[in-house]
Symmetry: C2
Subunit: 329 residues, 2 copies
DNA sequence: TTGTAAGCGTTATCAT
DNA sequence: ATGATAACGCTTACAA
């Protein structure tokens, strides 16, 4: 059995209040008493019972991170960043998978956690379906931390344009999507083309089912088979780009000599692909840090609810081999 | 403020005991009363306070998974498997990073979790350094779920031997390691060679700092530069193998025609590399399931401590392109 | 069938 | 400077 406050108090010959005072470094404790208590704590190996403390304080020190899957490196890297940011705030992270409808309702609705962080695939239906599920009810304000989807893909496209590429493929359009990340990124691609005075060509906008390496490879396969000529690929995420690289490699098409490829996410994998992938770094660490901080503030402000805030973080374009300047063509 | 048992009781005009009875589906409740209580629960939006329940029961329903990093796909995939297994047991998973010495002591020593699962990189020092840290003290029994390191790498090596490979590289030896996964795998490699009547050649046993894609690529680079001829690579994990594939691809060496490559872990990535990687599937789902089950049993048996158990799970060799039979050489 | 009350281990408000 | 004692919200003997 674990030792409790009263065990310590009894051994030290004081009341539990005094022990509690010592633990919390309250002022006004006689040094002699304090020492006696500290000795008693050491003697019985006392550790505060966090559950009891939580019941009193109404807090648990735990937040949950709800995401679709850890097998997707994007989410794994985000989770790691969140865990580290949470640690800095003195919080632990419970990871839950959002299997469709029940977006992580388990531990959360049951007040096991002080707050929740949601990360989605950025598809439209997903985001909207989420709000209904929130434990605090649909009225409570929700903060958002977002990335510059449109601007970043526009910058990515302009990067290829600056290399002299003119037949640039947009890889990853999602047909039904009109407000999610997919459509924002498609918009950025179109903006870049328009600003460069190029017509957008439907046959260069390639749709995929999901933003995975597999679909990236398959879509590139289909693209090649269609005979449509192209000299650049703006993939809407790194997984798609890595899939594209695989297919291009298999077909003997040289990157970056014949085709430039750029991705989005700056996964660890992007550094080790062949060739190493140029990509957009969306500011993952900052997103994680801000999200955790905002949640921590909200947890601290219980009662007086803060207004909903939306923060957008800056991105960076990371140049690697897949868009290196072709020496000669 | 969240509604409590007494709020519900007051509204329904019964005692909290009755409400509690309804919640726990106790027998002997008059249907009319039950309905009244259920209505009241719905009316105030009552959700049981898990923290209070935990304080009473002494359990939290949370276990922690301590691992080095989620950025390593091996651990990300394991974490996902553990989360799913835990969900089946009605447990939530808190993920903690073991940053060196303090192997996840935070939430754990503080009784926030009912039990802990450790997954390490399998290096020797790491494992031994762990036991001292365990919250329950060094006496408490610890269960182990392990994979067949030696047998699996032996099978991998024999797979290459069966393809006619004779100059097989072991990629991933860790010099200082005499009891960790590295040495067990090296042993399997040597056993296979010995059984085939081949001498083990030191120049074919390539050491690396860490089992990463980066070091796999670098070690393969060094191997090629050394001029040592070879026709097969047994990598001690998939990351090393994927790094090797990258270097071989870069150098224009064809896999599997000139060199056969096999890995260990069966990461999702192994399916999408170029060429797709043959590998050892170490039984990850089973490991996760068994580990969670054993822990759940231990949590249930509080008091009467079970003896320490060690379970070893079977492996499977997954054949893909990187060891396809070369048609002609 | 339902109610009363004790207690889980803390923290915090009073007194003293 | 320290000690009683009442909460926190729940489960569960024991009574009624």
């Amino acid at each position: 059995m674990a030792a409790t406050l009263s065990d310590v108090a009894q051994l030290a010959g004081v009341s539990i209040k005094t022990v509690s005072n010592v633990i919390h470094d309250h002022p006004n404790i006689r040094p002699a008493t304090k020492q006696r208590v500290l000795d008693a704590i050491a003697a019985v190996g006392y550790r505060p019972n966090l559950t009891a403390r939580n019941l009193r304080s109404g807090r648990t020190g735990v937040i949950s991170l709800v995401l679709p899957t850890l097998r997707n490196p994007y989410f794994a890297e985000l989770a790691e960043a969140v865990i580290e940011a949470a640690e800095r705030e003195g919080l632990s992270v419970l990871i839950e998978q959002s299997r469709g409808a029940d977006a992580g309702a388990r531990a959360s609705t049951a007040q096991l956690v002080d707050g929740m962080l949601f990360s989605t695939l950025g598809s439209e239906a997903e985001d909207t379906g989420l709000y209904a599920q929130l434990p605090a009810g649909p009225h409570s304000p929700v903060d958002h931390v977002t990335m510059r989807n449109t601007e970043a893909i526009r910058a990515a496209t302009e990067h290829l344009l600056a290399l002299g590429r003119r037949r640039i493929v947009a890889l990853g359009a999602r047909p039904g999507d009109t407000s999610g990340a997919g459509s924002l990124r498609l918009l950025g691609y179109r903006q870049a083309l328009a600003a460069a005075g190029l017509d957008s060509r439907p046959e260069l906008e390639r749709a995929v089912e999901s933003w995975t390496r597999f679909d990236g490879a398959a879509a590139t396969e289909a693209l090649l088979n269609s005979g449509t000529p192209f000299d650049g690929i703006v993939a809407f995420n790194d997984a798609l780009a890595l899939g594209a690289l695989r297919t291009l490699g298999q077909r003997g098409i040289r990157v970056p000599e014949q085709v430039s490829v750029i991705g989005f996410d700056d996964l660890d994998d992007a550094r080790y692909s062949l060739p190493a992938l140029t990509t957009i770094s969306p500011g993952r660490e900052q997103i994680a840090t801000l999200a955790v901080q905002m949640l921590a503030e909200r947890i601290a402000e219980r009662g007086e609810p803060l207004p909903a805030r939306t923060i957008t973080v800056p991105f960076a374009l990371v140049e690697r081999e897949s868009t290196a300047q072709a020496s000669a063509d």
